[in-house]
Symmetry: D2
Subunit: 319 residues, 4 copies
């Protein structure tokens, strides 16, 4: 389906439920997609960091994307991550995603290797031109260990290489500078790249980022509470900033579940993704809370604590 | 004078004008204080990073603080930085600041050395207890290379060690988690540390941070345009978020002056502080735009460009 | 072929020559393998960072490994990198490498994601057990952004999970602590893991690291001058440390070619790998100096400068 | 006294013993100086990181330096750290050190602030010219968070600004490149800066660094075992590299005491400096093992473990 330009709203990065053998649990994934679409989200982002894309084989990636596209059933657009170390490998993923029916692609700058802004520009241009799909740049220094420079993003926005940016840098000052450079919140439609979509991955400051003129949000914990993020987004669109902030505060409290897994016993990815999946299991959306190997699973105790946080946020578990 | 609890509003970090010999230009500094107070600010922060505290000898620091205290003349409270590598050295500065009439102290965690949260807690407790003045923690990982952990700040807020936090971490997500942990924006007065003041040093996202429940801002570029930040703050207090955001956008555009000094020719501190001082000179507030040695001065061309940015922001130069 | 335990000597990471279309130039690669084996090296490491593994598609990786295995023709053992973001993806590469005849595997800790030492341990154990080949841990913080902790390496050495370590951390102090923990230079055979091979990727301090008790080196610039590294290694084995140091100094001077590509115009990977490939082209070993997309190529001028450095090091170009 | 050019040998950074009130214990410090000089060291470095300079007030610094100079009694030269955030503050310390009889100065690049190589060059030139004493650059990225670039060090070596470098970067590859750029190990006397002294602060790889052509070492744990480092140095001077390496291995094992203080309970500075001081107390050299506030002290258990490591290294405690 054609992607709105700019893409706006709540576009969660879809978790990838796994069965006890580490295979993609397609029935659970289809139910998760319904949970999200029925929660009112405006798009789906498959094969992102929250989807555990770094842990999924090519076969798993294909199964997951196929399942999301089919379950979405053209109700909302599906963005697909094409996440790999450098251009030639990313192009392989991009080709597969196009073939499987993705509506847009999401790619990071090269990682593992040491690169340069001119090389990153060539990277995005090659992906855009080879895959024939709208392309979002995924700025995630925590994973790729460099930040996309503002002038580069602006150049690629203005020349049409990029349909948008997913900013997971956590650098709200830099994001504000970009938004102002693109014309500012009140004047984005008359700015230099009116169709360019700025989406934040910083799920704890969404009210603030929408106030600054961003178009939407890609919230990991939106898997658990899509309707909450949709309410936040709608309040912001309506200019009811106090309501947006109140909803955001409830979601900040809920987000504390990502720190339940103890830091001395497991990775930060395992703790966060494990809590999302435990919550989805507790809510009856998916059948297993397992994260991909070699991530350490949450303890039973930690899962019980996730349940208490759900209840506190008004989302009582069903198991 | 007694510090309001919590301290609220616009509290600029006061630049330290220097004469051509590198001595503190007290006449210019007194004029700058008047410029700020007449701009409507709610407090002054002397001897902070923007004051070039890292470059000032003990004698310079004393002269600068004395001048600020005298020029402020109890119209607004004066916070004084006690910035040094570890507790015993900070205590020396704290004692001097108390003697010279500061109303509160601002201290970072230890730097240069490798420390631990329990050591940082002991550090703040010792400063609070020795100096007999309200104490603000200054979270500035860019300078000290570690971030104050949320549980530590919360503990020191709740037990009364800290009167507030100046957050220059740029980590808006972490700041939001702290604000929610302290009771949230709508319920701060009923929260666990109602007198605790949260001030942001992230001058590009002040509307957003006030929406999140922060009490005020410590903006470096507030030296140049104090009235702009005061308007931003008042709009936010009045709940006029669209107006706050519009003012913020103008200030983001003005802030671009900090990048005029070319990155391959000078430090980022020289470029930013040089632009603030050039602007203050162009506006007729101070007599010399010089930054402290060994910072490289802005070129004439760069100063002219600062002038153009001032004009664009509605602050036409007088020279 | 069976891998010596411990593996000792010079084991260069084999460059992957490409044709002008970005495909693996198998004829050039086979010539490069001969150049290395005839230079006296003790093993070959295919699909490492210097092989541009981050830029090679799965198809390219298979072609490159097959070519190296065939050209090596059991004269020396072939180690194959199985480099990807996390265990399930690494296992796919490991299976392919085993099928294509690699004699051992080399894997990093997970990257892109945030992991934990217990997860890294599980990662290496799973690879070792699934692939049925000796496994080397590749410690390369510059690429994966965390360092393998000493106690983890020691545990995996002593329990036989790892056949060795390729240390590209540049942290010679940590490497020395590991070597002492494993029994020390004079007593390695009687230490707790006598068959464990410690190879350094720090090609500028090989004399020093061999003096400290390391078993060998994986030098990127060993592609250009394998015989030089073999002489260095043999001098060290013979206890002629002055000779080893003199050879090392010549190679340090040669290594300066990696900085010819200007930092403001291209990535550090492009500059280093581009210089190795330019040198191999100038020496007549390979047919094209091209690096993989999107790396920026060296200018003609830079290639000429590479030629001058070769001549200075006693390796006159043939074109 | 006149400093040898180049300065060569073992120059320990002298610990600063404190009494239970946090004051400099001058009697203990004088005994420590004797312990070092009688151990055969070639110079003393007062007011360095290992001296807890970051924790010492100006008064403490003066007392410590005076005590060292007096106790050294011109038997060996005394280098004094002039460690502070930027030039004007460093100049104050440099003036004091000159007045108190230091034979040379040691200064880092500016820290806390963000600087530039041209500013760092101006910084060192100003210190050299104001203080009238030979000046060593102290490259310690762990503390100041940037590394001195090779071309800068080379420029300041060749123009005579610097008498030497104390390299605590841990980057042995970069150090080797510098040594080769300065003429190489065999040809240092004929190189471009023959009087320039290269000292390593990497106390675990001293044999290796001397093999590479360095002139000496500034070992923190040399406080505990000066004679061991002197033996290592003499073996290296005599070309007996096997003996040098054996001595280094013993010192690496001894150095493990720096990790006894548990990472979850205290800072890494506290753990390392606490172990040195505990060892000096156990050996009867100093009267108290206390580190400066707010460092957390070693537990009794940890001190007992330090004693066991001393015994294992052939340095049995006397208490």
């Amino acid at each position: 389906m054609a992607l709105p330009a700019p893409l706006r709203g709540v576009i969660p990065p879809v978790c990838t439920p796994l069965d006890p053998h580490g295979e993609v649990d397609t029935a659970s994934l289809a139910r998760l997609v319904n949970h999200l679409v029925e929660g009112g989200v405006h798009g789906l982002f498959a094969l992102g960091s929250t989807s555990e894309v770094a842990y999924l084989t090519d076969a798993h990636r294909a199964t997951a994307l196929e399942t999301v596209v089919k379950a979405a059933d053209r109700r909302v657009p599906v963005l697909a991550g094409a996440i790999d170390t450098a251009t030639p490998r990313v192009l392989d993923h991009a080709g597969t995603a196009a073939r499987l029916g993705a509506d847009a692609l999401v790619a990071t700058a090269p990682f593992y290797t040491r690169t340069h802004p001119r090389e990153i520009a060539a990277h995005f241009r090659a992906i855009r031109s080879a895959a024939g799909l709208p392309l979002f740049a995924y700025d995630i220094p925590m994973a790729v260990h460099h930040k996309l420079p503002l002038p580069l993003v602006r150049e690629l926005a203005e020349d049409g290489t990029l349909a948008g940016l997913k900013d997971s840098s956590g650098d709200e000052g830099a994001l504000r500078r970009l938004l102002v450079a693109l014309g500012g919140r009140t004047a984005r439609s008359g700015g230099p790249a009116p169709a360019f979509s700025v989406l934040t991955g910083s799920e704890l400051t969404v009210d603030a980022t929408l106030l600054a003129g961003a178009d939407g949000v890609v919230p990991g914990i939106g898997n658990v509470d899509p309707a909450g993020y949709v309410r936040l987004y709608e309040a912001a669109r309506a200019g009811d900033w106090a309501q947006a902030a109140a909803e955001q505060e409830r979601l900040v409290a809920l987000f504390s579940m990502t720190g339940i897994g103890p830091e001395d016993a497991m990775g930060r990815s395992s703790a966060a993704l494990g809590s999302f999946k435990a919550a989805l299991w507790l809510l009856g959306v998916i059948d297993h809370g397992a994260t991909a190997f070699p991530q350490i699973p949450l303890s039973e105790e930690a899962v019980a604590e996730v349940g208490r946080r759900l209840t506190a946020a008004g989302l009582p578990p069903v198991r």
